[in-house]
Each structure stands twice: as C-alpha cells, then as structure tokens.
Subunit: 383 residues, 2 copies
C-alpha cells in the first residue's frame, strides 16, 4: 500500500470563490484508492471485450460479464446488507438507468392511464424529471407518497437511507390499491449508516458511485426477485443503450475484488479496509460539522439516533452523504442564502418536494471544499 | 506490431450447430487489434476518473472528457467523412442512446399530439421499439417514410449507408409540413463504403461499435449544428444515465489515437492501417459471397455500384456490414428457411418493415461462422 499523506493540500480558497456542493460527486473516496496504489489498476487490451455480449449463458442479463455477477453477490455476502440468494442481478448504466428500467418493468404494459410513481417528500430531486421527461403513457410522476389518497395502483420508491436527509425509511402509502415497491438502497452501506439487517425486498437498487465512490464509471445493479421483472428491466437497458460498458464492468470486478479481498484475506489492517476507512473519514467530517452547527444561529440539522451495525460490530450514528440543512427563522430561501451570503452552491428544498427553508449540501466532496464550507458556516451570523 | 496469423483457426462447426448471424456483433475487427498488440492497451488506476464530471468548462456536454472531443474531431478530419468545424459534439452510451436523445431534442416540448418519427423501409429494426417502448407523449413511431402522407411536422431518420441494405440514402418524405432530420451515419466509414463527400447535416450520429468494432464499449457521438439541440440531447443523456462511462471514454481516446496516428505518422505501412486492413477484410468476404450467391438458385443479393472514395483514392464497390438476402420464388419466409434448412439465425424482413422474403445476415462476425455460412449457402438447393 502506497502511504500517501492524508492531509488536505490546503489549497487556499478565496472567500469570493463559489464552492460547488450542489451535486453529490463522491470524490472524497479518491484518497483511499490513491493509498491502495497500483493494485487497483485495470489493463484492457485493444482486442478485448469488443462484443456486445457479456454472457451468452445468462438468460436474463445477457450483456453482464459472469465475473460481474459473482462480484456483486460476493460484496453483499461480505457486507451483509442485502439478500442475493435466489435473486436475479441486472446491471445498468448507473442506478439512474436502472431506476427507469424498474419503473418500466413494474408498469402495466397496456394501461388505461399511466400508473403513478410516488416517493415520500423530501425525495431524491431527480426522480420527478426522470419519470416525466418523455411524458410516458405507461407511468407518470405522482408526487409525495405520504399524501397519496387515490384508490389506484401505484409504484412507490423507497430511498433508504434517504437522499437528501439520511433517514431509514419504509413504505408510507396507505391506499387500498395494489402498490409495487422499488427500494433504492444507494446509501445502504456501512460508511453511511449502520447495517442493521439484510435487506430483502422484491426490487433493490444499488450504485457503484455511492458504494466505492466511482461515479465516473456509471454503473449500478438491481437485485430482483421475479424473473419476469428482471427480464423486462434487461429489455429496457437493451433498448436504451444495448447494455453496459465492458470497460466499466472490468473495473467493477477489480475494485469490488479489492474491497472484498481486504475483508476475506487474513492479515488486513482494519484501518486499511475500505468501509472502515471511509466511515472514519465521513464520521470525522460529521463531527466537525456538528461542532459548527451546534453553535450556529443560522442553520440547523436534525440529529440521528445510534444503532448497532452488524458489519462493524459497533453502535454509531449514521454519517450520511449529504447535509440536510435547515435555515432558521427569517431566512425563507436557504439555497439563495447559501449562494448569496456564503458563496456555497447547494440544492434547495423545493427540488426535493419540500420547503425552500431546506437545502442539501454534499458531504462527499473534496477536503478543501468541505473545510472552506465549515469556515463559512461558522462565520455566518444572523442579521 | 505483433504478427499474428491471419488464418482462421478452422474450428470445425458441426452441420447441426446453429450459426448466430442475427446480430451485427463486429468481432471481425478483433484480429486487427490483436495484431496491433499492447500499443492499444489502456491502464486505469483505482483513483482515476471517479467524478461524474468530464469537463467543467464545456457548457454543453459536461460529462465528456476534453480529449474525447479532440479525438472525435481528429478522426473526422483524418477520414474526411463529416464536417465538425463549428459543430457541437455530444457523446452517449452508444448511438442507441443518442438516437433517443436526438428524437427527444427535436420533438416539440408541449405537443398537442406526438410527432411522427419516420424512416424509409427497409429501416433499422430497432428504431420502432426504441421509439415506442415508453409510449411517449412527445413522439411516436410513424412507420415507412416513403409512404408518409400527412401534412404534419415529422422527424425523419436517414440511415446512410442503410442498415440493413447498405444503400446510400437521402431524405424521402414529400410532405409540405416541416420536417427535422436525423442522419444516422453509423456505417459511413471507408471500410464499408466509398467516402464520396464530407457529410454536413444538422444532426449526425456515429458509433464506436461500427467504426473500430468496439461494440462492448457502448460509445457513440453526435455532431450537432444547433447548440440548443446539443444541450437538449445532453440533458437527455444526463437524465437517462448521468453521462457516459469514463473508462469507455479513456479507451475511445486510445483507440482513435492509434487509428489516426497510423495515418498521420510517416512510415506506416498501408496494409497495417485500420481502414485499409478492414476494407480488405470485408472485400474479401464480399468476393467470396458473390461467388456463392451468383451460383445460387435459392438466394440473391442486389448489386452495388462502384464509386470513387476520397479517402482511399480508389474506385470500389461498398462492402456493407450486412448481407441483405432475398429468397427466390417459392420461399416466402427467408428467416425461417435459413433457420430450418441451413441452421443459420438471421433477422427477417418484417423487422425492417418489408417483406419476409428478405433477411439480414451479419457480415462482421467470426471467420469460422462466415465460412460455415458460405458453405451452407453454396450447398442449399431449391427443392
């Protein structure tokens, strides 16, 4: 392992520079992979993996390399966060593509009107646009799941831990109509939240971006109970992009392999294991944040409860990938306040279906940006 | 350059084995890349390219690496098949994703009814499903462009050279209504067809799969005149998959770089240049095919005219990526005949919007499959 300095390079950020914390770009994990050095490199030769096919024997997800499927099952086995036995694996160009594949697969094929897709507010800001962009006749955005009153079939998306607020969630719709569920478990990994149980739902979505931090790879996977749903999802990915990049699949196998080897090989130092390292890193950020927020008269953040994590065998609070910031009385638009007063670009509450008093801030950006953000928050005074 | 044997390994295919020539999997080009050896390899380290971002300075296609854009422009400059000066480049997860991005971008945003998407038959078999899958309220499949009679706005897709039949095409709709055009130029490369002019259309699509043969990479690009169309296409790719795999982008830069270096570096042997090598390879297959077809009483294939290629400076016939086979009198369903009598899996004419007397056969599969196909065709006798 290459021993690199963990200190930030201390780049000076001028007070007038806008800090970009609007997206959830997971570059915080770069330093872990840098420390691991060349053992995580992949080499792809010019003639390798030129075919559309991944596995001619897979009668569901034909574009997936067999070693990708094995890696995904191994990772869930190591972490214990999801049941994969007797389940189908479908891979996509990010969980974004698979979310849309899921909605397509769960929608009735010949509806008299589009089925409603719901999520409890605050919900992930992109669901609505992803559902609405093509004005599909199969499905439509139905808004906040908590206020759904119709006696009509629906699809409810449960994001747990939730983006933006990190809360563990279950379904909330109270309709007598038949509902189908999509569990978006992008953040159900030990560095963000205690792993309290093996998730076991009909359709679960995961993403490489938020697990190991490799967002540039555009890779996600679904764990699916029903073979017909898995086949319909595969059909969607086929018509949308004829599968998933084989270069990406090669990297997924390598990176997941390195993560799992760390846990399964005798002699790994705990501090060098991916989830332990990353959890410590996020916890340190959250501790610094609490120190500043507790003193702030401008901002507040809801507290999280402790839980025992079956993976790390300790009791701890979550350390979510985002700060769900609330502006105190007198500030109506948190996003604008952050941008104008603090020169911090955040994503405002309205995008998540709630009040503009809230804004979402990335917790997984660079050290420099995070530290500068803390400095500006601690300097912010109510006028 | 590694000198590998060009001979087929002569794998014996049993006469009862089904030969899969239904897809256009471009594995024929593998042997070229194998000959080039390690100079085409890419290495990606664990910490590289973890961000969603490709180029923060690109105000259109923000997820594209700057070197990808330069490579694409360089390739068109070398080949002379398309104008890229003063045009925007948008990249996607294959031309498949970009085709859908194009249709979205060209559709009116608030239509009273969906705009018709048309293509002249025989048209690429996947357009219809890609357009219809989500029952969009923005656009719908309008069928054969040649028989379009409505006085309503439309989008016409012009595939040139055409898939399945290799014909050079222009728009065919004769409507007084306003039409928008998408030029799918996936096969407008020197190994398939003479490059007679620099294509210069509003929206042109290209794919890595059919250019260099790297279908597993899932990479395509669009050359776009209007910045607003380019931005809308980018938005579609963003909502569909948050960009394009960075591992793929890295490989595109390497492979296109090797192709272009060959032409721009002094001292390359012509026979080792990508397009010359690949053209020879396809021409040899076509010559073998003609020898068999000319004798056949069961099958026919329409002849192509010669044209001067500005790139290779010679006059030659096209050597398309597919055979568009016609069954002679008495055989009504060419696909079924091929499967039942010859154990060859092809794609039948109906999928392309025409008569089932036709079927499409891949010309870019393995040597073994192609040679076995020829053997079976030459043995086929009319009953």
């Amino acid at each position: 392992m290459v021993v690199a300095t963990e200190k930030s390079n201390g780049r000076n950020i001028s007070p007038n520079t806008i800090i970009e914390l609007e997206k959830g770009d997971p570059v915080v994990f770069e330093k872990y992979w840098r420390k691991r050095g060349e053992e995580c490199s992949i080499v792809i030769r010019g003639w390798e993996m030129m075919s559309y096919l991944g596995d001619a024997k897979n009668n569901v997800c034909w574009y997936m390399l067999p070693e990708v499927e094995r890696s995904i099952r191994r990772l869930h086995h190591v972490v214990g966060n999801a049941v994969t036995h007797d389940r189908y694996i479908v891979v996509g160009t990010g969980a974004t593509q698979l979310f849309q594949a899921s909605v397509f697969a769960l929608s009735p094929p010949h509806p008299s009107k589009p089925i409603n897709v719901l999520a409890a507010a605050p919900f992930y800001s992109e669901y609505q646009d992803e559902i609405s962009i093509l004005r599909s006749g199969l499905y439509q955005w139905g808004g906040d799941a908590a206020s759904y009153q119709k006696n009509e079939p629906y699809i409810e998306v449960i994001t747990s831990p939730n983006n933006p607020d990190g809360i563990i969630r279950g379904p909330v719709v109270k309709s007598e109509a038949k509902g189908k569920l999509i569990h978006d478990l992008a953040y159900y990994w030990p560095h963000y939240t205690p792993i309290t149980h093996q998730a076991d739902h009909d359709l679960m979505l995961f993403t490489f971006s938020k697990c190991t931090g490799h967002a540039g790879s555009r890779f996600g996977w679904a764990v699916v109970k029903d073979i017909e749903v898995a086949k319909k999802m595969t059909k969607y990915v086929q018509l949308s992009s004829i599968g998933v990049s084989k270069e990406t699949q090669t990297r997924v196998v390598k990176i997941i392999g390195v993560v799992c080897d760390g846990y399964q090989n005798f002699g790994s130092m705990e501090s060098e294991l991916f989830f332990e390292y990353s959890k410590r890193l996020l916890r340190e950020r959250w501790q610094k944040l609490w120190a500043v927020i507790d003193e702030s008269k401008v901002f507040s953040v809801a507290k999280y409860s402790k839980a025992v994590c079956n993976f790390t065998n300790d009791s701890s609070e979550p350390s979510p990938g985002f700060i769900w910031l609330k502006c105190e009385e007198g500030i109506e638009d948190c996003e604008s306040y952050l941008l104008e007063k603090l020169k911090v670009r955040a994503r405002g509450g309205k995008r998540f279906g709630v009040d503009s008093k809230y804004a979402r801030i990335s917790m997984i950006g660079t050290d420099d940006d995070f530290n500068e953000f803390l400095k500006r928050v601690s300097n912010a005074k109510k006028e």
